[in-house]
């Protein structure tokens, strides 16, 4: 499952930061390579990895680059705690430790195949979905129509805006809808919360919904989708809890009989419904 050295799954490999992009005032995207230049490991869209600055802390981050990227892995990280603050102070050439990939992935090769896909993301919630979106775009023939609804607090907080405009918007049979929470000078796009915009657009139910964002957004998007006729079996999301081991043993992310780090982070909503309400 993970290939972090043969010693033990808890012993990481060294990753070298080969590129840093400032996405928004508090989000940076880090390119990570193995010290010899290659990729650290192969992963599937939706999987995560434990990134650590020794002496500071270790944290689980979703891999935001697509597996079709053969050169490096990317992590989009928002500054919000001790570890992430330190990560933001790193420079190109610095080393971190990485172990993974952990968890399950979006069923891009099974359930998603041949289907229309609707991605709904809020803020940094785009990070795990970007991996799926790029995977689907790189295997365009396998998927139907792709709709992407992405919202953020302000225009400055839209992650990966350049890529959205240059690649996603120009890709065939892809519709991108952007929105920001409040009016802002220089923004002539839509203004309003994601769930409201969702209802305004009114997607048809012939697709699979993939949602990621802050819990409150997920809650209202889910409501919206259901009103539009979506069923639980049609909607996917990724969960996030505190994790330490990443391999379903340390007990933190245990909900019911599931471990979010090992059995998740990707869940279909009917699976979430079966879990005790503790996430």
């Amino acid at each position: 499952m993970c290939n972090c050295g043969s010693h033990d799954s808890l012993v990481p490999q060294i990753g070298i930061i080969t590129g840093i992009t400032q996405e928004t005032p508090d989000v940076k995207t880090f390119k990570v390579n193995a010290p010899d230049g290659g990729k650290l490991f192969e992963h599937m869209p939706g999987q995560c990895a434990m990134v650590c600055i020794p002496g500071v802390s270790e944290g689980m981050f979703s891999i935001t680059s697509s597996p079709t990227n053969k050169e490096y892995q990317e992590f989009s990280i928002k500054k919000c705690g001790i570890l992430t603050e330190q990560l933001h102070s790193l420079q190109v050439g610095d080393e971190v430790t990485v172990r993974g990939p952990y968890g399950n992935n979006f069923p891009v090769e099974t359930e998603f195949k041949g289907k229309n896909l609707l991605f709904i993301a809020g803020g940094i919630g785009l990070a795990p979905l970007r991996s799926v979106i790029n995977y689907c775009l790189d295997n365009r023939e396998n998927y139907g129509r792709i709709d992407i609804l992405y919202g953020s607090r302000s225009a400055d907080d839209l992650v990966k805006l350049q890529e959205i405009q240059d690649v996603w918007m120009k890709a065939p049979n892809v519709n991108v809808y952007l929105t920001i929470d409040r009016e802002q000078e220089g923004w002539d796009g839509h203004v309003g919360f994601v769930p409201t915009y969702l209802k305004e657009i009114g997607f048809s139910t012939d697709c699979i919904g993939i949602v990621c964002g802050p819990p409150i957004m997920i809650k209202f998007v889910l409501q919206g989708l259901k009103e539009m006729g979506f069923t639980d079996e049609q909607i996917y999301t990724t969960l996030e809890l505190r994790m330490k081991c990443g391999i379903g043993k340390c007990g933190r992310c245990n909900i019911g009989s599931k471990f979010v780090c090992k059995d998740g982070p990707v869940f279909r909503f009917d699976q979430i419904d079966e879990l005790p309400n503790e996430y």
């Binding site: 808890l10 060294i14 020794p54 050439g93 505190r242 340390c250 007990g251 019911g256 009989s257 503790e278």
Partner: protein, 369 residues
């Protein structure tokens, strides 16, 4: 079956310790805990329950996983060479990881009770499922378990509820089963590892009748039936009982005295939650693993909040995990009825009281219908 007189038992320990580490109940400052045997230690084979369970032998409370050396080095000097003005030297962090060696020496855990052996089975389920925990696996491979029958079980014992036989350790997944009867230790190898160990100390053992422990076995079995907690019923617990139990009102009353300390989790033979943390020394960083408790308020705390914010949720999690989630996932209860939490909880809460509280609720509900 073999035997050795208890008067002579120290020579047995010395013989084992010659080639292997020997881990057994030792009394220190008034309390019996598993520790390494030394010639001058006070062995406490007669202690029914050590304070901590022997799970330390396979899953120690603290262990270093790996060391990281962090070198801060300046970038290529050539970039700065020749410049007249002071150039800010850029520093880079280079890391070097040295994993801790896995256990490669045999060791013996002597005097484990049947319930504790069963506890190791529960740990196996967690640590030996994919991805395997190699630190644990190495210890399991090198560990030899000598189990000892429970001479006089106490009122806090309820292992029979979970299918453990305290009288006959040869039924447990141990390597050697032993009994203490009238000043003699009776010895029966039950696995290949056990046979080998027996061979290595054979000169100290003498032959004994195969039925030498039978009277003791029936005696213990008889005592067990008299103990109050062995009549506990697990009806309503186990696989698939999540919804029924999770949403019960009983938790809201039951948890109240809970201090949120980690006593129950740390004395428990099956609790396996851990934390991974850094320890910085001047020579580098040691990344270590230590036991953690789901009862602690920071167990699930994240930068953006957490999912189990109240003590009632944490309390419920511990018992749901032991009695419902664990059976759901691994097909066995994560409680072996050793009764340590019954003895040690500062507020006299424990798994027995939890099970009984739900029984009472059912009775009351039944009466109201």
């Amino acid at each position: 079956m073999y035997k050795i007189s208890l008067d002579n038992i120290n020579s047995l320990f010395a013989a084992i310790a010659e080639s292997k580490e020997l881990f057994l109940p030792v009394k220190k400052a008034g309390q019996a805990n598993y520790a390494n045997w030394t010639e001058d230690c006070e062995v406490a084979l007669d202690s029914l329950k050590t304070v901590k369970s022997p799970k330390d032998a396979f899953f120690p409370q603290f262990e270093t996983l790996y060391k990281v050396n962090r070198k801060i080095i300046p970038t290529d000097a050539s970039e700065e060479e020749g410049s007249e003005t002071l150039v800010e030297t850029k520093l880079r962090t280079k890391l070097e990881i040295t994993p801790t060696e896995l256990k490669d020496k045999d060791f013996v855990v002597f005097g484990m009770k049947s319930c504790d052996v069963k506890g190791i089975e529960a740990l196996d389920k967690v640590f030996l499922t994919d991805p395997v925990d190699n630190f644990y696996k190495a210890r399991r491979e090198h560990g030899i378990i000598v189990a000892l029958a429970c001479h006089e079980p106490e009122e806090s014992c309820f292992c029979t509820v979970f299918g453990v036989d305290p009288a006959d350790p040869s039924k447990a997944k141990a390597d050697v089963a032993t009994w203490i009867v009238d000043g003699e230790l009776y010895w029966k190898a039950i696995s290949e590892k056990g046979e080998e160990l027996t061979k290595s100390v054979a000169s100290l053992l003498s032959d004994a009748a195969d039925d030498a422990a039978d009277a003791e076995i029936s005696n213990i079995t008889n005592i067990m039936t008299k103990l109050p907690n062995t009549k506990l019923s697990l009806e309503g617990w186990g696989e698939g009982k999540t919804d029924e139990k999770f949403n019960s009102e009983v938790w809201n009353e039951l948890y109240k005295p809970c201090l949120g300390c980690g006593t129950c989790t740390f004395v428990c033979p099956t609790c396996q939650c851990y934390d991974i943390k850094d320890y910085s020394t001047k020579d580098g960083i040691q990344r270590y693993r230590c036991w953690d408790s789901c009862m602690y308020s920071d167990f699930t705390l994240m930068a953006g909040g957490q999912n189990r914010t109240s003590q009632v949720q944490r309390f419920r999690q511990r018992f749901m995990h032991k009695l419902v989630y664990f059976p759901d996932r691994y097909g066995m209860y994560s409680c072996v009825g050793c009764g340590r939490c019954v003895d040690k909880c500062p507020q006299s809460l424990n798994v027995v009281k939890v099970i009984k509280a739900f029984e009472n609720e059912k009775k009351e509900a039944g009466a109201n219908v």
